[in-house]
Structures are given as C-alpha cells and as structure tokens.
C-alpha cells in the first residue's frame, strides 16, 4: 500500500488577524459595558459578546468547510499487486477514497516519468558561469491512466490500469540526478478538486 503525500493545510491565514482583532475588541467593549453593573448594560454587554463570537464563527466557517471537504476527499492509498514495478509491466491498482464515492467521470490519473537534476554551473557558450544551486524538473513521459470504478461492493474503491512502457527508463536516484516515476491522481468531488501524488519504483527489469 502506497500512501500519498498531502500538502499541509495552512493553520493560520492572513485574514485571521483582523477577525481576531475585531472579536477581541468586541469582547473588550462588552466587558467594559458590563462592568457598569446596571442590569440593562449587562444585557447589552452579553449581546455584544454573542455578536462578537458569532461574527468570529461566521468568519471562520469557510475555513472549517474547507477542512471538512479536504478530510472527506482524503485518498486512502493505492494497493499494488506487485512491488516494485518492472518495465513493460501492466498492473491493476486498487484506489481507495476514504470518505467520498468514486465515479469514473470524477477521477483522472496520469503515470508520469520525470527527470530531476540539480546543478551549480551553467554554460554560456563554452564559458562556465557560476550560479546558485538550482533544481530542474522535466516530464519526459505522461501517460493517461484508465480508471474503472466504483466497485460493486464498495463505492469508494476503484481500479486504475497502469502500463509502464518497456522502452522507458527505470527509476534512478543519485545525488544530483534522478529519474522518477509517480502516479498523479485527480479527484473532483463536491466541487473541490484534489490532486494526490503516489511515488512509484520501477526497476531495470523488462517483462519478457
């Protein structure tokens, strides 16, 4: 089972600052009003407090919604019948979505092979030009993957059919040069698009 890597949702967003400031200000004013001791003023203070907390909750609502939808779309992982993969191999991979149902028109996937290199020097003509270390990426293969699902027994499980071309390069990882394989899955559900990347390992063995 391969787990995807989820980019973290920011815990703090910029618009929280004015919201917190306004809420604290409202609560402060309510406190001052209530300190007067008069029954009417206490009622006014409580009203202001309810208003401040209510406004804060309303302000945070889209954020909570985003978190809820995100959790609902979390992909459980991929189950591969064999690991690692070989060149020329075709495999049926099981895909599970933890909370939302999978539907063929909502799932799209790509098998991607990309090169990643890290270098210090560039060349202008024949003269080496020093520059800051940089990492370059290039997709060398992008293969659309067929999705079949959902399964009869589980609406949250489907299958992807992967085929690794026999003439492709296997996974290669050195200090500054890499050839990497990954499966990019995109799920569009409840109006929210999510992409998940599953790294794959392809060994230098070609299926006869």
């Amino acid at each position: 089972m391969i787990d995807e890597s989820l980019p973290p949702l920011p815990l703090f967003e910029e618009w929280f600052i004015p919201l917190i400031f306004v809420t604290l200000f409202g609560l402060g004013v309510a406190g001052v009003v209530m300190a007067d001791g008069d029954r009417g003023m206490v009622a006014l203070g409580v009203g202001m407090m309810v208003l401040a907390v209510g406004s804060a909750s309303l302000g945070l609502w889209p954020f909570f919604q985003k978190m809820r939808k995100r959790r609902a779309l979390a992909l459980g992982g991929l189950a591969l019948p064999r690991w690692p993969l070989r060149l020329g191999e075709s495999v049926q991979v099981s895909l599970e979505n933890q909370a939302a149902d999978l539907s063929p028109n909502l799932v799209s996937a790509r098998l991607v092979c990309r090169e990643e290199v890290r270098g210090l020097a560039d060349h202008v003509g024949r003269i080496p030009t020093p520059r800051a270390p940089a990492t370059m990426h290039r997709e060398v293969r992008s293969i659309d993957v067929e999705f079949h699902g959902p399964d009869e027994h589980s609406l949250r499980t489907g299958h992807l059919y992967l085929h690794v071309p026999p003439e492709a390069a296997p996974t290669f990882v050195a200090r500054s040069n890499k050839v990497l394989w990954e499966l990019n899955v995109r799920v569009d559900s409840q109006g929210v698009e999510r992409e998940a990347t599953f790294p794959l390992l392809v060994i230098p063995e070609v299926v006869a």
């Binding site: 090169e115 390069a169 296997p170 200090r175 040069n177 230098p204 063995e205």
Partner: protein
C-alpha cells in the same frame, strides 16, 4: 597503445561484461595496467558516478607488450544506460597504462547497459 575489445557492446544489468585489453609500449618503462568499469552522468546537473570495478595488472620489467582479460558483473540494479532530456547515464571501460620515464596511455570504450529480462 591500448586496444579494448569488448565481447559485446551491450550487456544486461546483472550479467558479465567481458573484454580483452591489449597494450604495447615503445617509450619508457610500463609499470602497470589499470582497467576500470564505471558509470557517470552527463547533462544539466552536477555529475554523479560510481566506479564498479578496477583491476590492476602489474607489468614485469622489460615487458613492452601484453594483454589481459576482464570479466566484470554489472550490478543488477544498474543503472542502465539512458539518454534523456536533462541527463544521460553512460557506462565506460577505461584502461590506463602507467609508464615510467614516458607518457601514460589511456583507452576508453563505451558500453550500453540494458535492463535485465524478467519473467512475466
């Protein structure tokens, strides 16, 4: 002068690479012949590489010609030869003849490492 004759220019990962290396020297005193199998990267990034095997053949005094045979197993996990967009992975056999009171000599021969064949 050094000549590297590969039994085959293509070899599968995990298989043996065999080569016959002939050398001759007309100047100075040859002391040893070093033969190495290695891979390295070329391209936009910094170079990576690894020496897989090195064999040193000592040469007796007065010997001005000779040959040797190397038989090296290419690692199963490669890497295999690759000609990509940002990087290349190249394999070579190199022989260096060390010569006292003369100039060293070198010969390099490129090898293609292919993925091994597997069962379905």
């Amino acid at each position: 002068m050094i000549t590297i004759a590969l039994e085959s220019e293509r070899v599968e990962a995990g298989q043996s690479l065999q080569a016959r290396i002939e050398w001759s020297c007309t100047d100075g005193r040859p002391t040893r012949l070093e033969s190495t199998l290695y891979w390295f990267t070329e391209g936009r990034g910094d170079t990576d590489g690894r020496r897989i095997h090195t064999e040193t053949l000592p040469i007796e005094e007065g010997q001005m010609t000779g040959w040797t045979q190397i038989d090296v197993r290419v690692p199963e996990d490669g890497p295999i030869s690759y000609d990509g967009t940002l990087l290349k992975i190249l394999w070579e056999v190199r022989s260096d003849l060390k010569v006292d009171r003369g100039s060293d000599e070198r010969a390099v021969e490129r090898v293609t490492v292919q993925p091994r064949s597997g069962m379905r």
